[in-house]
């Protein structure tokens, strides 16, 4: 098989995968924070918060990520003027599209994080929360000090699946022109269609290498940190 395209200066494969990694890391952090907040809202004593989080999760979990990211660019940014970078900057389009993609990924992925954490809350025995209330802790402390630490340790494995899905989902950013791996592969298979299989294998290997360690490390952590009951 002919892998000569690897040294072709037109194709910055490392650079493209670096963008994929950046999208993944930033969106993962954002989704973890917003997803935890959504889970907390769904179990809170405030009905408006519960209702908001439920509606939010049901809407965005059932919308294709492609619809979310394309709308972020065409509707939010181009049409309604919601921009995430300085318009004077020379790299405005590039930065804005990257950030809009991250924004869309967070909007979507946080619903899965939220549901995972909520199912983790279900694995915590009721006695834990009852004991916490019995010593006089208010709801926020019951959740933050007693329930969530145990819940998150129980759902590291499902969260790892969400993170792996997120890594693969970053390819959807190609739909708004973010120069990540899928967009580069699209260009390359178009130009080098005689080396189609080789190009595909390189990119497939890239994603296997990105997702494999995540699964292994978090799988190990999930076993290490599981709450023994």
């Amino acid at each position: 098989m002919d892998f000569s395209f690897l040294s072709d200066p037109r194709y910055d494969i490392w650079g493209a995968f670096w963008v994929t990694v950046q999208l993944t890391v930033v969106a993962a952090l954002g989704s973890l924070i917003w997803g935890t907040a959504l889970a907390a809202m769904r179990v809170s004593p405030v009905p408006v918060l519960r209702g908001f989080a439920t509606v939010y999760v049901n809407i965005f979990r059932n919308t294709p990520l492609t619809v979310i990211i394309v709308s972020c660019s065409l509707v939010l940014s181009n049409y309604l003027g919601f921009v995430l970078a300085s318009r004077d900057s020379t790299s405005f389009i590039k930065d804005n599209n990257f950030r809009l993609a991250v924004f869309g990924l967070i909007v979507y992925t946080s619903t899965f994080v939220g549901e995972a954490i909520r199912s983790g809350i279900n694995t915590v025995p009721a006695g834990q929360a009852e004991a916490a209330r019995a010593i006089g802790l208010p709801f926020t402390k019951v959740l933050a000090l007693v329930v969530l630490p145990q819940a998150i340790r129980a759902v590291i494995a499902p969260l790892a699946s969400v993170l792996i899905a997120l890594t693969k989902n970053t390819t959807v950013a190609a739909s708004i022109g973010v120069a990540e791996a899928a967009l580069l592969m699209n260009t390359m298979v178009e130009n080098e269609s005689d080396k189609l299989v080789a190009v595909f294998l390189v990119f497939a290997l890239g994603f296997v290498l990105l997702t494999l360690p995540v699964g292994l490390v978090l799988g190990y952590l999930a076993r290490r940190l599981a709450v023994r009951r």
Binding site: P45, T66, V67, N122, A129, M185, T211, L218
Partner: protein, 304 residues
Amino acid sequence: MSVLYDVPGPRARRRNLVFNVVFAVVLVAVAVWVLRTLDDKGVLNRAQWEPFTRGDTWTQFVLPGLRNTLKAAGLAMVIALPIGVLFGVARLSEHRPLRWAAGAVVEFFRAIPVLLMMVFASVLFTKYSTVPLGNVPLIATVTGLVLYNGSVLAEVFRAGVLALPRGQTEAGLAVGLRKGQLMRSVLLPQATTTMLPTIVSQLVVVLKDTALGGLLLINFVELLRTADGIKNNYGNVVPSYIVIAAIYIALNFAVSQIARLLELRLRRGPRASLAGPTDQMTPTLPGGTAATGAGIGPGFGGVA
């Protein structure tokens, strides 16, 4: 009543009321701001929405797109199910080479974004097959969906079989069934039943992933792509995306609800829980598989 907080007393009730009001005000403020922005841009004008009151917008753009989306999702699911059964069973085989080969294939296709597989299939069929060019977009989309979801379903069937009590296998062997018979008439039917909610929620993943077919080289005119036609004709960007997103949400929400009802029916005996029913009640998939590391429950498919 949740066990996470006490029955509110007078002070807590007052505080919750304050939170309720504050948050409701924030939500209303955001809604007002969004509506005003939309109004400033003329999105709320009757002219922007008028195309959707006319039949030809639907028969020319939306419905053909929806038909393509449903066709791709349906084909993908129908092809992926038997492939999933085949590979799931192969991964449980007593023959090590078969088990490993099936495992390698499943893990490989689960680790790769669906979009890459669709792009690959698109070029493959265009350049190296005699498939009529007009059919390539549909076939490429379905190929990508089948490769990924076949692998996921293989894991689902395997998890279903592994979750069955050992006694089922032992009883089957005791009455003299051969391995194939045991799998066909004892294990698979039960595994399919317990995993039915997961299988149905996988359909949501497939439906959402059909939207990838409109991207890059693949060029499949599914529901999302029809937005291009509508907005080019009528210049109504925002209403087009709102209507199309609403169709996806309604469709997927309905399928999710079916999965949830199946789940509730299959679950025996109510179980006390802190946060109410969630998607995580069917047996999770066996952990430790290389590329994905951990089990996936329904709802964890993600897009790519």
